[in-house]
Symmetry: C2
Subunit: 163 residues, 2 copies
């Protein structure tokens, strides 16, 4: 059973794929999709959607999860994040995956506990939980792995072992 | 030459189709796509994308235009508008249409001049410019017609007569 996690963004969207083996989460792959700021909005959203659709289709994932909500006060940033989120959600849906949503605070809490929850701390805890030699990079991909771990941890997948 | 205008929103997305005949803009059709707030985000975005894709494909449009930007200070509203905008842009792109973007203030100015530019004023001016007996409703569809008129007026279509 594989879970594809997504940390969406118009400039950089992170993805992280894990596989549940018994009561363990095993790392499969991670990476980012970048779009070019010089291109028109429609071209960037198509590149994001089509790139993620290809990754989702070849991932073998049975479930997908994405960060919801927005941390900040900048209305323009929220608008752009919304656009990237929709492009990602539509790609996952077009790949036949159900899409679960988790608030950023919940993702941080799940992988790093009630600590300060900084970016590096999340990446370190993702590495620890997946048995990686070093924290995954860039941060967007580490966050995407954290989203996938969160989906596993919250046991929304029917019949999956709880952590 | 037909132009499809879009006023995006997660709850209600307006569309308006006009046809350029010589130096006149002629009304073809208008309407709205509604999504159900009780449904999951992915289902709503799919309904919006698929509904608009069908309308775009049967529209005979050679160009499309959409309202850009966000008027307001509410970060959550901006995030939702961004999601609806991306679903609409991807539908238009999937239908093979280039997507032009116009700020709400420019659309109001184009169809209603430098007046107070209230919703009813925009709908009245759309009716006047298209020779309709009464203002089109609901407001989202009237705004979509205004976006289509704006695209025509700004002469971005190669070889089109300028107003």
């Amino acid at each position: 059973m594989r879970i594809l996690g997504i940390d969406p963004g118009l400039n950089v969207t992170g993805f992280g794929l894990i596989e549940i083996a018994g009561d363990r989460a095993v790392y499969v792959r991670h990476g980012v999709i970048r779009t070019r700021p010089a291109e028109a909005r429609a071209a960037r959203l198509l590149a994001l959607r089509d790139g993620l659709l290809a990754i989702a289709r070849e991932s073998g994932a049975a479930a997908a999860a994405i960060e919801s909500g927005f941390v900040g006060q900048n209305v323009r940033s929220a608008l752009l994040l919304g656009e990237a989120r929709a492009a990602a959600i539509l790609a996952l849906a077009d790949a036949g995956l159900e899409v679960a949503e988790y608030a950023p605070a919940l993702v941080k809490q799940t992988v790093a506990g009630f600590g300060r929850g900084e970016k590096e701390q999340v990446a370190r805890m993702v590495a620890f939980q997946l048995g990686l030699a070093k924290p995954p990079a860039p941060a967007d991909a580490a966050d995407a792995l954290a989203v996938a771990i969160t989906h596993w941890a919250h046991g929304r997948l029917a019949g999956m072992p709880q952590r």
